[in-house]
């Protein structure tokens, strides 16, 4: 069974991630009174890009993007997607926290070798933005781990299965709300898309990418979305007993998280950080304090 | 007036000491300072002598055989003073030599002008 999940969960993540990418484009289009592309458009794009020739700037340029995608897949392996996670005993949530940052880091290294100023700017923004949302995110995760007394995702899911899901229980509701508020920033969607601002800095980190590179980067982006949302489902919404329910829950979260923020205009990176450090942080902080003082 | 009578030598001695100290304290001229030191020394020597004095005593010298030791003053302070005087002279001599050099170097004897070494 576990071996099966080793193969299954990356594939599921790939599919769902691409689906979310398509969905988000469509979502955006609807908000802007457009029809938008079909949902499978990202898949088509990727397949096409794989056949296109591109430029490379050196071994690291290739390796970085591979590393980025591979690490995203590994993160997926830590997630119980309506079952047990393939890598459940390898460091738990703490390892996930670390592995999540390898994705951007790989892109950053790869982009760094390209020596394109736009890339550098994009990376700088990405890292700053990450610092912005990591503050509330860490508080949320810590509140959860402290509350349940474990660092294993599987056990957090199991504990929610026994009682109520975290978002519905008292102190953790704050963490849940905070998570929803930072979700767009983690996913890099509006209004936090300043990292890859297409018009301003030519898509930032992805500026030098074309062909297979862009394909991998796109997949990586999709996986990031998948991971961000599935973490929410697992940690705060009690996970799911089978993949279908899990997918439905993710869909709801996606819609909600997207919807809340999509109407805002794009924020400059300082504004984004300032925002993230104000309300989401405050709420997450309250949650953390409550967890630390009241406990379970 | 018996107090004065009893202590007039002390008062005199310490009067000199006080004058000497005051001169050293107040005067700026090196030569005057040296004079002050000299007066101070004199006062001190006088004090030493007074300590050993015995009323109506004589010098402790048996210049004639058969002289009785009773009326003789204490010889120790005299010996001390002899030494002290010589030391005073030594200091005085050196001080004067330095004063000569001081004048040659600075063109003045005013100690306020010689404040190159400070702080």
């Amino acid at each position: 069974m576990r071996i099966l999940w080793f193969v299954l969960s990356p594939l599921m993540a790939l599919a769902v991630g691409l689906f979310f990418l398509g969905l988000s484009r469509r979502f955006m289009a609807r908000i802007q009174w457009r029809v938008g592309p079909p949902l499978y458009q990202p898949l088509i794009d990727i397949l096409r890009q794989f056949t296109q020739k591109s430029v490379s700037h050196g071994p690291l340029f290739d390796l970085g993007v591979v590393l980025s995608l591979a690490s995203s897949f590994i993160v997926v392996l830590f997630m119980p997607l309506g079952g047990t996670a393939p890598l459940s005993s390898s460091g738990g949530l703490l390892a996930v926290l670390y592995l999540m940052l390898l994705g951007p880091l790989g892109i950053a290294l790869s982009g760094g070798e390209a020596a394109n100023p736009n890339v550098s700017i994009g990376i700088s923004r990405k890292l700053i933005l990450a610092v912005g949302y990591e503050v509330p995110f860490l508080m949320i995760v810590l509140a959860l781990m402290t509350y349940y007394g474990t660092i294993s995702i599987g056990e957090i899911v199991a504990a929610q299965r026994e009682s109520a899901s975290a978002i519905a229980s008292f102190p953790l509701v704050f963490s849940g709300i905070a998570y929803l508020l930072i979700l767009p920033a983690m996913l890099g969607v509006r209004p936090f898309e300043v990292v890859g601002a297409a018009q301003e800095i030519s898509s930032g980190p992805a500026a030098e990418y074309g062909g297979p590179y862009l394909a991998l980067a796109t997949i990586q982006h999709g996986l990031t979305m998948f991971i961000g949302i599935s973490l929410f489902v697992n940690l705060l919404w009690g996970g799911a007993s089978n993949p279908v329910v899990f997918f439905l829950k993710m869909l709801v979260v996606f819609a909600f998280g997207f919807w809340v923020n999509a109407a805002f205009p794009r924020l400059r990176v300082e504004q984004a950080v300032r925002y993230l450090w104000r309300w989401p942080t405050l709420i997450a902080f309250v949650g953390l304090i409550l967890v630390a003082t009241i406990g379970r | 007036m018996s107090f004065l009578h009893d202590y007039v030598y002390y008062i005199g001695a310490f009067g000199l000491v006080a004058i000497g100290l005051l001169i050293i304290l107040v005067k700026r001229n090196l030569i005057k300072l040296i004079i002050g030191l000299s007066i101070l020394d004199t006062g001190v020597n006088m004090f030493l002598i007074s300590v050993g004095y015995i009323r109506r005593g004589t010098a402790p010298i048996f210049s004639r055989p058969g002289l009785e030791p009773d009326g003789m003053v204490d010889p120790v302070p005299q010996a001390l003073v002899l030494t002290a005087i010589v030391i005073g002279v030594a200091i005085l001599a050196l001080a004067l030599a330095l004063a000569v050099r001081f004048y040659k170097t600075y063109g003045t004897l005013d100690l306020r002008k010689a404040k190159e070494l400070r702080w």
Binding site: - | A18, L22, F62, P65, P69, A79, V86, I87, L96
Partner: protein, 229 residues
Amino acid sequence: MRATVGLILLAVIGVGVGISLLAIPFGAPKTEIGDYYIENAREDTGATNVVTSVVVGYRAFDTLGEVTVLFVAALGLGAVLATAGGKRGRSGVEPASLILSAGNIFLFPLILLFGAYIFTHGHLTPGGGFQGGAVIASAFLLVYLSSPGKRINESGASLTESVSGLVFVAIGLLGLTHGTHYFLANFLPKGALNTLFSAGIIPVIYCAIGLKVGSELAGVVDNLMEETE
């Protein structure tokens, strides 16, 4: 301002010293030590001048130090003045008057003789090496005043100085090896009281001191005279 503060300070110190002086009544009988010296000086040292017996006998070590102090001062004075840039000849000094120079011819030997008398009789009469030495030095001062061009024989003076000082020390060391085996012990025969050749080492030491002090003071005067131009 400074004087006022000084007076206040002196007043405080004066009160303190005054209180202490009350414990030392003026003109009171002698101390035990003084008594002891007066009683025993004649037997111990053979000198009839008790002060001398204290200075050169009981407290001879002080005297050695005292001679050294004077030596130091003379040397120091020489050192301080010598660095002024070498000696300069004395020229253009007005010669002294006839009275002075003529008197000098008479007085110089007399003064020397008087000085020598004082230090050789130090153990018998008031006086001693320092006093005699000072008198001798005054003779040289007179020479300077009367004939400004004249100089004492400096190397001779310093030779006298060193040799007489060495005699003092040597006598002290002899005391360590002879007689009672004490430094500065009076190992020579004491002789009869009230005679010139009595009191053992005292006259010898006083002669040495007299010569030493005389030459040192003369040297001091010499050095200072040179500098006054």
